[in-house]
C-alpha cells in the first residue's frame, strides 16, 4: 500500500505548500508513489488517516497547540516544512513585543476580541522527526526526504554553511560589497540562491550544526562590525534562537 501523506498549514504564508505544488511535472510522479490524503490548499479531500504529516507554519494560538497535538497522535512521521515550522521564522518578530501591544496595534479598540500567543516552532510543542528548512524550502529537498522515507534510507541535512555553495557559484562575497550576510553560519543546501539573485543570506535555513562563531566574529571585525550590529537582522528568521535573543 502507498504511504499516506498529509499537508497541514498553521500560521504562515502557505508558500511552502505552494512550492510543493510547484514540483510541477514531478508532482505527477509523486502521486504515483504516495497517496496525498490532505492538502487543503489544493484539495477538498480530507482524512485523519495518514502516515507522514508535513507541517507548514508556526504555532501562534492555543487552538493551534491542540491541533498540532492531534496531528502528532495520528502521524507516524512528522516533518516540519519551512522556516515558520522549523524556527517560527518571521512570525517570531512579534515575540519582541508584548502580545497586548501587537493586538492593540493591529486591532485597536477591538483587540479584546482576538487572541494570540508568542510564535513557536512546531518542535517546541510536539516531537518532530525531520526538518526541511528554508523560506521557502528548496523543492528538491522535499523530494529527497520522500525518496529516503520510501526506500528506508537515512535522510541527512546539508552540513556545510551557505558560503561553501556560494564560493562554488563564484559569487563575489557580499561583505566585499559593504553588506552583511549570514552565509558563514547558516545551513546551506539552498545553492546560495539569495546571493546568486544579487542579495545576501538572511539565515532562513537556521544555524548550521556546530557553527564556527569565532570565525564569524573575526569576519565581522574585519569589516568593522560586531555581533550587535547584525543581531536585529538575524532576528528576522531566527528570533526564537537563543543567540538572537541576547
Amino acid at each position: 500500500m502507498k504511504p499516506r501523506v498529509a499537508f497541514f498549514d498553521f500560521t504562515g504564508c502557505e508558500g511552502c505548500q505552494l512550492e510543493v505544488l510547484n514540483f510541477n511535472l514531478e508532482i505527477v510522479d509523486l502521486i504515483n508513489v504516495v497517496d496525498i490524503v490532505e492538502f487543503r490548499e489544493a484539495s477538498s479531500d480530507h482524512s485523519d488517516n495518514y502516515d507522514i504529516a508535513f507541517i507548514e507554519g508556526s504555532i501562534t494560538t492555543e487552538k493551534e497547540i491542540e491541533r498540532i497535538q492531534g496531528i502528532r497522535n495520528n502521524a507516524k512521521i512528522l516533518v516540519s516544512l519551512g522556516a515558520c515550522a522549523c524556527t517560527a521564522g518571521v512570525n517570531a518578530l512579534k515575540n519582541f513585543y508584548t502580545m497586548e501591544e501587537n493586538l492593540k496595534l493591529v486591532y485597536g479598540e477591538n483587540a479584546k476580541w482576538y487572541k494570540t500567543i508568542p510564535a513557536r516552532p512546531v518542535h517546541s510543542v510536539v516531537p518532530v522527526d525531520f526538518f526541511i528548512h528554508g523560506c521557502p524550502p528548496i523543492r528538491g529537498e522535499v523530494i529527497r526526504l520522500v525518496k529516503c522515507l520510501l526506500t528506508g534510507k537515512k535522510f541527512e541535512l546539508y552540513h556545510d554553511p551557505v558560503c561553501v555553495e556560494c564560493k562554488l557559484n563564484e559569487n563575489i562575497c557580499v561583505y566585499e560589497k559593504g553588506q552583511t550576510c549570514f552565509g558563514p553560519v547558516t545551513r546551506g543546501g539552498c545553492n546560495s540562491i539569495c546571493v546568486n539573485g544579487g542579495r545576501h543570506c538572511w539565515g532562513c535555513r537556521a544555524l548550521v550544526d556546530e557553527p564556527n562563531l569565532n570565525a564569524e566574529k573575526e569576519l565581522l571585525a574585519r569589516y568593522n562590525l560586531t555581533v550587535n550590529d547584525i543581531l536585529g537582522k538575524y532576528r528576522i528568521f531566527n528570533g526564537t534562537l537563543e543567540v538572537a535573543k541576547s
Partner: protein, 431 residues
C-alpha cells in the same frame, strides 16, 4: 413555501489559500444564520515590520502571502520608493511590469485550473484529473511552470522574490533569456491559452447576480496592475494616497480579518472589478476571450471572476510580448538601483491577482520603518462574500444540503481568497 431545514458548517473551506468557514442555519425554510467566518491566525505584520530597514521590510513583506509574493514585494517596494522619492528608469519600470505579468499569469492559471475547475469535473482536487483528464492537467502544469520560470528569470525566485528592490533590479536578465520567454509566449503559450479558453467555454457557471460597487486601480492608457489611481464603479478616480477614504476598514467579532466598505454595504475587488472598470483597455485577443466566455461589462455575477481571470491571463500574455519587444529593441543596459533614504511616508498600490493591495509605510531618517498599514484584497472581499451569501442562500435554499454547500463553497473559491494574507479562510460549517 419551503420547509427545508438546513444546518451545516464547512470548516476550513478547501482549495483556497488560508482558512475560512461557512456557517448556515435554516429552520423550516427560514434562514436564521448565514455567515462567512475567517478564523485565520493573525500574523501582525504591521507590528513586526517596525524597526526594520526598508530593504529588509521589502524583502520580508512577500512572506505575507506565498501565492502573491510578487504583488506584496512590488507594493512594498513602491511604498518605499514613494516615501523616498525614487524615480525608476524606463527599463526598470518595464521589467517590473513584466515580472508582475508573470505572477498574474501563474496565479490565475493555478486558480482557474487547480482550485476552480475540479468543481466542474465533480472531483475534490486536480489529483484524480491527472488520470482522467491527463492533457488538461499537463497543460495546467506546463503553463504554471512556465510562469514560475519566467518570474525566476526576472527576480531569482517567484516565492519569495530576490532581485527586485527599491530603485530597480540588482540582477538583470540577459537578452537571450528575454528572447526565450518571448518565443515561448508567442508559440505554445498562446496556443495553450486558446485551448484553455475552449475548455472553460464548456463549463457552466452558476447563474447568480448581485450588483455592488467595484474598485480597481485605473490608468488612462493601460489596463492597470502597478500604480495608477483608485477607480470605482460609483465615484471618480481617487489618488492612492487617499486609500483610507475608500477602504474604511472595520472589525467584526467572528473574523480575524478586517472587513471594508465604501459607497455601498460592500465592494468587490479582483479580476471582475478590474474587468468592469478597465475592460476598454484590454488588448484585442483578451477582448475576444471575454466575448467567447460571454463576459460583458458590467458583469454582476461573482462566479464569473474566474472568467475574468482567463481574460486577464490572455491580456498579460499579449502585454508581455509588447514589453519584451520594447526591452529587446533597446537592449538591456546595466544599471544600479539608487535609493537615498529620508524620513517620510509613502503608499504603494498594486493589483494583486485577487485585487487592489495597499502598503503604507512611514520611515525615519535612517530608512527604518516606524509605522505600517497593509490592506489586503481578500479582506476587502470578505464583506462582499457575506453580502453575496445573504442574497444567494434564499435563492437556493430549496436545493439539497450538499448542493447548497457546494454552491456556497464555489462562490468563495470564485473570489480566489488568499486568507493567509490577512489571516486564513475556507470552511463551510452547517451547524
Amino acid at each position: 413555501m419551503t420547509t427545508a431545514n438546513v444546518n451545516f458548517k464547512v470548516h476550513h473551506v478547501a482549495r483556497i489559500e488560508g482558512h475560512g468557514n461557512i456557517i448556515v442555519n435554516a429552520k423550516d425554510g427560514k434562514i436564521e444564520e448565514v455567515k462567512w467566518e475567517v478564523p485565520e491566525s493573525p500574523r501582525f505584520f504591521e507590528s513586526m515590520l517596525r524597526g526594520l530597514s526598508y530593504s529588509d521590510v521589502n524583502f520580508i513583506a512577500p512572506r505575507i502571502c506565498g501565492i502573491c509574493a510578487v504583488a506584496h514585494a512590488t507594493a512594498s517596494i513602491e511604498a518605499a520608493e514613494a516615501a523616498f522619492g525614487v524615480k525608476l528608469t524606463e527599463q526598470a519600470k518595464l521589467l517590473r511590469d513584466l515580472l508582475f505579468d508573470a505572477e498574474t499569469l501563474t496565479s490565475h492559471i493555478l486558480h482557474t485550473y487547480f482550485l476552480v475547475a475540479p468543481d466542474f469535473f465533480g472531483v475534490g482536487s486536480v489529483i484524480p484529473l491527472a488520470a482522467t483528464h491527463t492533457d488538461v492537467v499537463l497543460r495546467a502544469l506546463r503553463l504554471k511552470k512556465f510562469g514560475n520560470n519566467w518570474a525566476d528569470v526576472l527576480c531569482g525566485r517567484k516565492t519569495h522574490p530576490l532581485s527586485q528592490v527599491a530603485g530597480g533590479f540588482v540582477k538583470l536578465p540577459t537578452e537571450e533569456q528575454l528572447k526565450g520567454i518571448k518565443d515561448e509566449l508567442e508559440g505554445w503559450v498562446m496556443k495553450d491559452m486558446v485551448t484553455t479558453v475552449e475548455l472553460f467555454k464548456t463549463l457552466k457557471f452558476p447563474d447568480f447576480v448581485r450588483e455592488t460597487e467595484y474598485i480597481a486601480l485605473t490608468k488612462p492608457n493601460e489596463y492597470a496592475f502597478v500604480g495608477g489611481q483608485i477607480g470605482s464603479s460609483d465615484t471618480k478616480p481617487a489618488p492612492v494616497n487617499d486609500y483610507l477614504k475608500v477602504t474604511n476598514e472595520f472589525c467584526v467579532p467572528w473574523s480575524t480579518a478586517k472587513f471594508t466598505k465604501h459607497m455601498r454595504d460592500s465592494y468587490q475587488v479582483g479580476a471582475l472589478a478590474r474587468f468592469n472598470i478597465n475592460h476598454e483597455k484590454l488588448h484585442p485577443k483578451a477582448k475576444k476571450v471575454a466575448q467567447d466566455l460571454g463576459l460583458k461589462a458590467p458583469c454582476y455575477n461573482p462566479f464569473l471572476i474566474s472568467a475574468a481571470q482567463l481574460v486577464e491571463t490572455m491580456h498579460v500574455v499579449e502585454n508581455s510580448i509588447m514589453i519584451l519587444d520594447k526591452l529587446l529593441s533597446k537592449g538591456i543596459k546595466q544599471e544600479t538601483p539608487e535609493v537615498k533614504v529620508k524620513a517620510g511616508r509613502g503608499v504603494g498600490a498594486v493589483e494583486a491577482p485577487r485585487g487592489i493591495l495597499f502598503h503604507d509605510y512611514t520611515f525615519d531618517d535612517d530608512g527604518k520603518l516606524i509605522a505600517a498599514n497593509i490592506i489586503i484584497p481578500t479582506n476587502e472581499n470578505h464583506n462582499s462574500i457575506q453580502h453575496d451569501f445573504d442574497k444567494l442562500l434564499p435563492e437556493i435554499i430549496d436545493q439539497p444540503q450538499e448542493k447548497i454547500k457546494l454552491t456556497m463553497e464555489m462562490l468563495v473559491r470564485a473570489y480566489d481568497p488568499c486568507v493567509s494574507c490577512s489571516t486564513h479562510m475556507l470552511d463551510v460549517k452547517f451547524k
